[in-house]
């Protein structure tokens, strides 16, 4: 597929998908774009916010718009790994153990309130996300394609949470917050019909096959030497900056590159611009950086934005 010629067409399709989702998630266009970017880049999405701001709805809408299977697991403190990945049960008729796939065998998995469950269950999920397969009784079973996990997380200050360690946060390509809707959006929300019904009536805009093609197209987005220089400068300055205990890892750099490409595609370009990097960087970098003890009082997203402001284009 030659992207240069189709870029505008792709953008229109994606914008249409975005608009469709925007009918349900009101006034959150930027968050929708970021979620689409994450999906295009083939990564997994972590949504961190208070209960009731539409995390689940966003995941559900995304699945619907792309015509993907959707399953949801509510993570609780007594959830076991097998409850997610599946279990082998003895079948008396065939006198054999039979594998019963868990809810993870789906195209879009909503892992709701992931930080309410124990680290053991968390790692089972995260491993599956990383490997794209589940191994049980020595047999590896591939997960369907595309496979997209949307995990939601309550702010860890709340009681009864097991915060994900930094190394596992790294498995999520992006972390976004949704936030409260503004006055106008909230008014429309209250006036509107039941969201679940609306979702069920949404058309499928992009089918899974097309989604896979788009994910491939992301790989072909062009980055010039100048842009790579800029990307390197950003990563380097995160490592030199006194605000962070440690800078961005090479994996974080790759993630940033991928997301910038996806963002460029989403906006109908066959090439990445510095603005693309700047747009996605807070969502890609913030959960991978640790604030230095001397700057504990600062907000991490704010620090990332300040970092961007410091690096010349």
């Amino acid at each position: 597929m030659n992207i240069s010629n189709q870029a505008t067409q792709i953008r229109d399709t994606l914008q249409q998908a975005g608009n469709s989702i925007g009918q349900i998630i009101l006034g959150k266009r930027r968050q929708i774009d970021l979620a689409l970017t994450c999906l295009l880049a083939g990564g997994h999405l972590l949504i961190e916010d208070l209960p009731g701001v539409g995390k689940t709805t966003l995941a559900l809408t995304l699945a619907r718009t792309f015509g993907l299977d959707f399953r949801r697991v509510q993570f609780t403190s007594d959830l076991l790994p097998a409850d997610v990945t599946g279990i082998s049960i003895y079948d008396a008729t065939s006198q054999q153990f039979k594998f019963h796939p868990g809810p993870i065998f789906t195209q879009v998995l909503l892992a709701d309130e992931i930080n309410r469950t124990t680290p053991k269950t968390q790692s089972a999920l995260l491993e599956a996300m990383e490997e794209n397969q589940v191994t049980q009784d020595g047999i590896s079973r591939a997960l369907p394609k595309p496979f997209f996990v949307v995990a939601t997380q309550n702010p860890s200050e709340q009681i009864g949470t097991f915060p994900l360690p930094e190394s596992q946060l790294d498995r999520f390509l992006m972390r976004i917050e949704i936030g409260y809707p503004d006055q106008q959006a909230e008014r429309e929300l209250l006036l509107g019909r039941d969201r679940r019904q609306q979702i069920a009536q949404l058309p499928v805009i992009i089918n899974p096959q097309n989604l896979l093609a788009l994910q491939k197209a992301v790989e072909e987005i062009h980055e010039s030497k100048a842009l790579l220089d800029y990307l390197l400068a950003l990563i380097r300055s995160s490592r030199l900056s006194p605000w962070f205990s440690s800078g961005l890892s090479p994996r974080a750099g790759l993630a940033l590159q991928k997301c910038a490409r996806a963002w460029a595609l989403l906006h109908g370009r066959d090439h990445v611009l510095p603005e693309d990097v700047q747009q996605v960087m807070p969502s890609v970098a913030a959960h991978r950086l640790q604030i230095h003890p001397d700057h504990q009082q600062d907000n991490i997203d704010e620090l990332v934005r300040r970092l961007i402001m410091q690096v010349p284009v």
Partner: protein
């Protein structure tokens, strides 16, 4: 603990106290005892004040301390000016200033002052360890500056050290250029400020029993000699410095000098060619091998065959000489010399005088008397020793010759001269050094205080003044080899002789060779050496004004280099023509109110610019599009570049009236 250390190592006060301590440390032994104690107290208070604000002293008390310190300095030194007093006061005031320093500006001032105080070290010593120490301290000072500038965001300690070392290393070429080119003008301008009574060991102007034996205890180098050809044999190395005519029964003195012209010297054989590097000794005499052919330029050569400089030697002094080892001073003894050379103090040492007079009647000519006297010393039970028994009383020569019979060179030279005078032979005492040790590393002969020696000269008809060394008659090893071999085995030797085992000796030779180089080329780099170097470099005389010009040119060149480098690093040279044009475009817009932030991408900037200049939106978008195509899509074509250029040129910058 480590956490705590790192938090202290970020505190600016720590980064002032540490270098300050290093700066003051070498001065401490020179200061009166109360000053180091006071400084320790002040530093402790300031360190305490980092965590305990109650320890911050009020300005009034600082003022009181400053006044007290000034009074204390005057009481100790009698002045607040001069090398020692001035430095001491400055160091104390620095410590007081530290107490009231709180802002970064104060700290910077302290560091700048520290750079100055470091240099004052050179007023006192100029040896290699001092220079190395000072260089290290400068690195710490630079580290302090880096730390103070970086503030909270200070980098890792190791990184700061690296940066400081790099900076100091970068400054070394400039330092060398300035050292070589700075015009050295001979004159009082460059002399060290001199404090009265700075005692140095060395020959005194008089000789009484025990003087030289005491001087022997020091192993300091008096001067170094480089021979052009071969070194003469050890027993010929008589370095003369002083001739003593007058004797009061105990002490020999130079006394009033005669005014006669210098007698002619008749040299035999090939003269010895050599160069002496003289350590400063605060006296005006120069040393020469018996007998110098002529004086170096600017030095007086007197009628006792002694070299005298016009000024006391208080810097390293280098001169070349030619000496005849075989010589004859052919002339008639002047009346003054005859009377001075035969003068015997009345009523002193009667037995010795009587012995001399007895010899006169016993032998019929002078040479026989001299030989007899030396024979007496050799054959009777005279002992050469560093610890001669004291000879108090009115007749010390009698006591030595007839009772104790144990003495050092001054005893033998003095008593011999007195005996000769009593026998009617004009005689005088000569003071100087004898021998010296060749350093096998660089073949330089170093003559130390321990080589101090006294001998005699007698006037013989037909031969003139002849050197006679009575010590050689008693302890020939002293002149043939060295002092150590001439002393009896059970004699208590000075410490340095006891420590002279072979390894240590070898190390000392190496160190001495390095030290010699340092003294000659660094400390001794004066007008003469500078001119020599310039002649070697440019093949002609270089005037001081030319030197100044060259110096300024060199410094200017370095300044330009720094300016260029910093300019270059700030604005990297742009080779991409489109990027150049785009920056030009941004520049023009910046002058008209839309400045691009360094982190602003082209699309964001274009939309911002278009808001201010809606009528130009099309042109701005086009320019941005060409730019993006070139820079972010890697698609450039010449006509696009030209188009961009014309678009930028034709952009209408007058703000839209809306």
């Amino acid at each position: 603990m480590n956490q705590r250390l790192s938090s202290i190592s970020r505190d600016p006060a720590f980064w002032v106290i540490l270098p300050l301590t290093l700066v003051i440390l070498p001065h401490l032994p020179r200061l009166p005892l109360w000053m180091p104690i006071l400084m320790l107290l002040l530093f402790a208070v300031r360190l305490g004040a980092i965590s305990e604000p109650r320890l911050i002293l009020h300005k009034f008390w600082l003022f009181v301390i400053a006044v007290l310190v000034s009074i204390g300095t005057i009481m100790h030194y009698g002045t607040i000016f001069g090398k020692a007093a001035g430095t001491a006061l400055l160091i104390c005031l620095l410590a007081i200033k530290l107490l009231e320093s709180r802002s970064t500006r104060d700290y910077m001032l302290l560091i700048a002052l520290s750079f100055f105080i470091i240099v004052t070290n050179f007023l006192f010593t100029q040896n290699i360890p001092t220079a190395v120490y000072m260089l290290c301290t400068v690195v710490v000072l630079v580290m302090s500056l880096i730390t103070l500038h970086q503030g909270d965001a200070a980098l890792d300690l190791r990184w700061r050290l690296q940066a400081a070392v790099k900076l100091v290393a970068l400054s070394i070429p400039l330092m060398l250029v300035m050292f070589v080119l700075f015009p050295r003008i001979s004159g009082p301008l460059w002399h060290m400020p001199d404090d009265a009574g700075s005692g140095r060991t060395g020959l005194g102007e008089t000789m009484s029993p025990g003087d030289i034996a005491q001087l022997i205890q020091s192993n300091e180098v008096a001067f170094r000699v480089e021979f052009t050809d071969n070194k003469p044999s050890q027993d010929q190395l008589y370095w003369r410095a002083l001739v003593l005519w007058y004797f009061d029964g105990r002490t020999w003195e130079q006394g009033k000098q005669n005014e006669n012209p210098r007698p002619t010297l008749e040299g035999h054989g090939q003269p010895v060619d050599y160069t002496i590097t003289l350590e400063p000794h605060e006296k005006n005499w120069l040393f020469a091998l018996d007998m110098p052919e002529q004086a170096p330029p600017g030095v007086h050569y007197n009628n006792n065959f002694l070299l005298r400089s016009r000024e006391p030697i208080n810097t390293l002094y280098r001169y070349s000489l030619k000496s005849f080892l075989n010589y004859r001073i052919e002339y008639q003894l002047s009346r003054w010399e005859k009377s001075a050379g035969l003068k015997i103090p009345p009523d002193s040492n009667p037995r010795s005088v009587q012995l001399g007079q007895q010899w006169r009647t016993q032998f019929n000519h002078d040479e026989a008397i001299v030989n007899h006297a030396l024979q007496q010393f050799n054959q009777q039970d005279y002992v050469y020793t560093l610890q001669p028994p004291p000879t108090p009383g009115a007749h010390p020569v009698d006591a030595f010759l007839f009772n104790t019979r144990r003495g050092f060179c001054e005893h033998y030279a003095g008593s011999f001269t007195l005996l000769m005078r009593a026998a009617g032979i004009p005689a005088r005492v000569v003071l100087g050094y004898q021998g010296g040790m060749i350093n096998p590393v660089n073949q330089v002969l170093s003559v130390r205080q321990s080589d101090a020696h006294a001998w005699a000269e007698v006037w013989l008809p037909e031969r003139g003044w002849v050197r006679v060394d009575p010590t050689a008659a008693i302890a020939p090893q002293r002149v043939e080899r060295n002092l150590d071999s001439a002393l009896a085995a059970d004699e208590i030797r000075p410490l340095y002789m006891q420590l002279d085992n072979s390894v240590l000796k070898h190390l000392r030779f190496y160190w001495d060779a390095v030290d010699n180089r340092w003294k000659q080329w660094v400390i001794g780099y004066g007008p003469k050496l500078q001119q020599q170097l310039m002649r070697a470099l440019f093949n002609r005389e270089i005037h001081y004004s030319e030197l100044t010009f060259m110096l300024m040119a060199a410094v200017g060149f370095v300044a330009l280099m720094i300016a260029w480098l910093s300019f270059k690093s700030r604005a990297p040279k742009e080779t991409d023509p489109v990027q150049k044009l785009y920056l030009q475009f941004c520049d023009r817009l910046a002058k008209r109110g839309v400045a691009r932030n360094i982190s602003e991408g082209p699309v964001d900037f274009a939309s911002r610019a278009a808001q201010l200049y809606p009528s130009q939106q099309h042109a701005i978008d086009l320019i941005t599009k060409i730019y993006i195509n070139s820079r972010y899509r890697s698609r450039t074509s010449t006509d696009q570049t030209e188009k961009m250029q014309s678009l930028i040129r034709n952009l209408n910058y007058s703000p839209d009236k809306s």
